[in-house]
Amino acid sequence: MSAVALKEQELKQRLEPILVRHGRAPSGLIPIMQDIQAEFGYLPREAVEEAARWLKIPLSKAYGVITFYAQFHLKPRGKYVLRVCLGTACHVRGGEKVLEAVSQELGIAPGDTTPDLRFTLERVACLGCCGLAPTMMVNDQTFARLNPQKVKEVLAQFAES
């Protein structure tokens, strides 16, 4: 079996339980995409095609919905997703400086992923942790009261061990 075919088979195997779990109601589109993204880290085109077929909706409709929401990603993302908060409280307490520091440390711009697929850097409108601004999330973990120095310490925790 060729490598490509294997990949296709693997994709189907990981996709099927998600589709079965949600059933075929069109309202399941967003939850299905959320689960696909949780499984693969992004939305592979083949998976979106398969899901659209399963829900009996046009592929254009699926992409219309996916691209509307900031949460969905069409390209592979890093193992650690850093979301630097630029909400009001973080803005007035130096959130931009934190973003700059992360960006400099990782050598990537917001929206980009490091070539080794370790880190993805994103800006987010508000994490709802305003009392401890400025903040950022690394995957599901929130870090508070950041400054450029603390950013280095946080990133060190997630650097290659």
Partner: protein, 613 residues
Amino acid sequence: MPALEEFSRRRHELMTRRASAPGLEIYVGMGTCGLAAGAQAVWDAVENELRERGISARLVRTGCIGMCESEPLLDVVRPGEPRITYGGVSAEAVPEIVEKHVLGGHPVEEHLIGQITDPARPYQELPFYSKQRRLVLARTGFIDPRSIEDYLSVGGYGALLKVLTSMSPEQVIAEVTRSGLRGRGGAGFPTGRKWEATRAANGRKKYVVCNGDEGDPGAFMDRSVLEGDPHAVLEGMMIAAYAIGADEGYLYIRAEYPMAVRHVRMAIEQARESGLLGKDILGTGFSLDLHIKEGAGAFVCGEETALLASIQGERGMPRPRPPFPAQSGLWGCPTNINNVETYANVPAIITNGADWFAAVGTERSKGSKVFSLAGKVARTGLVEVPMGLTLRELIFDVGGGIKEGKRFKAVQIGGPSGGCLPESLLDTPIDYDQLTATGAIMGSGGVVVLDEDSCMVDIARFFLNFTQSESCGKCTPCREGTKRMLEILTRISEGKGEPEDLDRLERLARVVKDTSLCGLGQTAPNPVLTTLRYFRDEYLAHVVDKRCPARVCAGLREYRIDPQLCRGCLLCKRSCPSGAISGERRQPHVIDQTLCIRCGACEATCPFGAISH
């Protein structure tokens, strides 16, 4: 009805057990903010100490009690003694607290921040709490949000039992109407009237929906309630469903709030196991099931019609109203949609009665309101104050005034739909209608305090940048108007504005406000209009003097080298990416303003502090 009796018995047992001589208890605040400040390490340290010393105590993980500034928080309750609170606790501080206080009975001075004698009025000696009135937040910080037993033990689900056994749907609606409760999601629509309309609407099926999208930057009220007391929200939804005749419902929660989603999911599971959700609930004939939908990252999905579209799996775009969701909501069925905090108010209204609730507040704004206090205020956190309190009391008494002795400049209330109010309006009471009259709004509860270091043009631009990028693009005024407004504001902040820009901005703002399809566009100009109205001087400084008084707008900065302090070390010259700095070794350097791109790299590298702007 045996199921109902059995449930009531279980609930009473739990209540009696809690009221009767509790043993040793230790609480750790483990909300998102607590964890962000390092609560997990504190928890582990406490667990470790208890195990090593063989102490038997109830270790409770609670939600946020509101003192974000003092996280991580640790509380000790020895039998028969008040609850003692420690703030800013580290894992290293735990052994001493256990040794001296838990075992020895002598509270440790260091880290001690307060005590609770009456859980209904916590920390009365602390100014942060003395003006608060906690109804929605009554249980967060006191119960384990992941345990239905804990919620039941403090009287939880009593309102649901009361409704199911002794009130008709009409009576429930009448009670909520009489209480004067208005929607806490922003617009302040009377909740009872909304329920009545949904009940009156024709439909084979009806839905209840909880709006937990909380997209306003600077707001975290709903997050804290969902994380810290999820059953109260469910109970409110159940009562609403009973009142309007719904048998299915959704909670739409932001995906950026993973802990809130987790806790609500657990709460729904537990309610189902306890027979409070499902078919024929407790044998009363009332049926209801609830589901969670995670928001997918679009601010506009907080708008009710967009939110419903999103639940249906579509793009979250608003549609014109009428028909209102009460007539035609989810899949065309009558749907009642309320905010998290609105639902969380309902159980207490049913339990204590409409008059009790309406006794607090102003003529047309009843009860209390939760605010997230953030920005340049001394004490940030989550507070709940009676309606009618003034903004001054909220910021200076509860919040402790401005950080680091700086001067107050403005308060931003209501997020991107709200406005910036100056010192002269600080005596405005917290009241839906009086706040609207100032050009701001009550909003959902985000309060960000700004000091002299904040630039009002920058703040207006910040919010407009947000609304512009979150505009869904469906209607022209919002899609195009916000973009053009942002261009003008950007121009002004870069020092390229002209005096006529202020009139242009104002005219455009009015058009966008008057003609946009949904609340996003209708309110997006508010931050701009209020800053233009109350802080026109600052705009004029930008366009006439080409000066940013707060020295925030990068485009208007002028970097200078102090020749007295400069040692001619060449570092700044090397760091300058545009070759704007000249000078010989050991001679003072100078910056060519025409070449300077105002990146600040020179200021950051100068070891002698000779460069400033």
